[in-house]
C-alpha cells in the first residue's frame, strides 16, 4: 500500500507516477527501448532484471515475468542463489555486471566490462550497463513508493 494517492491507472505504480504524466511517458519510452531495440538479447535482459530484483529484495519486480523468456524452475533457483554456472558465457558476463550494479558499482572491474563487450559487442554492452542501472532504479522506485506485489506480464506493462 503506497503512502501516495495513486491516480486511476493500470497499476498502482503507474497510478503514482501519473502525478507526473509527461515524466511517466518518457520514462516508459526510455525503459522500453532496452527491450525493443534488440541490442541486448531479451533473455539476457530478463535474467539480469530478475537478478537485480533478487539482490534488492523487490517482490513487486519479481512478481513480473517476461512471456517471451521462459525460464525453467532450475534457472529461477540459480538466479535467486546467484549461481550463474549453468548459463551461457554471454549470459554470465552480463550477470556478473548485474551482480555488482545495485550495491557495488565501484567494484566492477575493467576485465568484467571488457568480457561483456567481447561476448555481446560494444553497443550491447553500453545498452546493458544502462539497462542495469535502470533495472535497479525500477526496484528502488517500487520499494520506496510501496508498489503492490501483483503477478503481471512485463510485456504488457513494463511498470506494472
Amino acid at each position: 500500500m503506497s503512502l501516495i494517492t495513486p491516480q486511476p491507472a493500470a497499476s498502482e505504480l503507474e497510478g503514482i507516477l501519473k502525478h507526473r504524466p509527461e515524466l511517466l511517458e518518457k520514462y516508459r519510452t526510455f525503459y522500453l527501448s532496452f527491450w525493443h531495440d534488440g541490442l541486448v538479447p531479451r533473455r539476457v535482459l530478463e535474467l539480469c532484471r530478475r537478478r537485480v530484483a533478487h539482490i534488492q529484495g523487490c517482490e513487486a519486480e519479481l512478481a513480473l515475468s517476461d512471456p517471451q523468456t521462459r525460464l525453467s524452475p532450475a534457472e529461477e533457483t540459480a538466479l535467486a542463489q546467484g549461481d550463474f554456472a549453468s548459463f551461457s558465457a554471454a549470459e554470465q558476463s552480463a550477470l556478473v555486471l548485474a551482480e555488482s550494479m545495485p550495491n557495488g558499482v565501484h567494484y566492477i572491474s575493467d576485465e568484467e566490462v571488457k568480457r561483456a563487450a567481447r561476448e555481446l559487442g560494444e553497443p550491447a554492452c553500453v545498452a546493458l550497463l544502462t539497462a542495469l542501472s535502470f533495472m535497479d532504479v525500477n526496484c528502488r522506485l517500487k520499494i520506496v513508493l510501496g508498489a503492490d506485489v501483483a503477478p503481471g506480464s512485463l510485456h504488457d506493462d513494463i511498470l506494472n
Binding site: R20, E22, L23, K26, Y27, T29, F30, S33, F34, D37, L39, V105, H106, S109, D110, V113, K114, A117, E122, P123, C125, V126, A127, T130
Partner: protein, 65 residues
C-alpha cells in the same frame, strides 16, 4: 572503479567520454536525455532541491564525474 576507457568511442576522431561511448546506442541515449531533460526542466520540485540531492547522491555514490 576505472579511470581508463572501458568501451571505445563510437564517434570517429572523438575521444572516449560519456557522449561518444553512449553513441554506440544512439536511440537509447536520445530517449535517456529526453527523460532527463523532462526531470530537470519541469515539475513541482524546485531546481535547488534537485541540484542539492543530485550533488549529495553523487557524493554518496562517490561519483567524481
Amino acid at each position: 572503479m576505472s579511470t581508463i576507457p572501458r568501451i571505445s568511442s563510437a564517434i570517429v576522431g572523438q575521444a572516449e567520454d560519456f557522449a561518444s561511448v553512449t553513441a554506440h546506442a544512439p536511440d537509447m541515449i536520445a530517449r535517456f536525455f529526453d527523460l532527463y531533460a523532462e526531470f530537470w526542466q519541469r515539475g513541482v520540485v524546485g531546481a535547488e532541491i534537485k541540484e542539492m540531492t543530485r550533488l549529495r547522491n553523487a557524493r554518496i555514490t562517490d561519483c567524481g564525474y
